[in-house]
């Protein structure tokens, strides 16, 4: 009787360990990749910026190359948001909006970001202007 219960526990821990491993492995593989150098330069120069909705936007008119790279990344971001939104039982828009809050918070001085009123701002040393919906 006790042997049976112990066996059950062992199975459960094995399944748990397997599940955790399958969660960790793709994340580790993904972190090996790097952002495109085109976008890194465009971000530093203010040609692209973080929008409130969780995607990259253009404060001015971008070059064709930058636009293509940003559009491509936005498509990848959307696919990732959809995945996380499903895992968190929420909508893609709600997850993307939360990401927008956090991404704007993490911009570096000199980079562009979108204020809640839709206008483009340059990040200073002070905290960025964010929507009231954003967590502290």
């Amino acid at each position: 009787m006790t042997g049976l219960i112990e066996r059950k526990h062992n199975w459960r821990s094995l399944v748990l360990a397997g599940a955790m491993l399958s969660l960790v492995l793709p994340a580790a593989q993904a972190s090996a990749q790097v952002a495109s150098p085109v976008l890194a330069a465009a971000r530093a120069s203010g040609e692209v910026g973080e929008k409130t909705d969780g995607y990259l936007g253009f404060p001015g008119t971008p070059s064709a190359e930058v636009r293509r790279a940003a559009d491509e990344l936005n498509i990848k971001r959307r696919a990732y948001y959809a995945e996380r939104a499903a895992a968190q039982n929420t909508t893609v828009e709600a997850y993307a909006l939360t990401m927008g809050c956090q991404l704007i918070a993490k911009t570096k001085p000199g980079e562009k970001y979108q204020a809640p009123d839709g206008s483009w701002r340059t990040r200073s040393a002070e905290p960025p202007l964010r929507s009231n919906l954003c967590p502290a």
């Binding site: 952002a35 990732y80 996380r84 939360t98 956090q102």
Partner: protein, 92 residues
Amino acid sequence: MIANELTWRARFAKHLPMQDQQTGKRRSPASRVTALAMLLGGAVALSACVSVKAPDKPIVIELNINIKQEVVYRLAADANKSIEARPDLFGN
């Protein structure tokens, strides 16, 4: 003899004192006034119910804002993890 007795009894049964008077069905003037007042009051209450219009649009918008703020707070920790886990999507 027997038939005569039967008709007598039938006649008596048709004219009972209670049926002639009909005091139970008559209303006093006071109760008539209260009945009328109740009828009028009911009509007024009904017309008041019909005239109330619920402003549904602003309520819906307020609910959406509340839900979103709650959801954003719940998702914030996972969003931060996502930024760490996917520098290819969110890094410089």
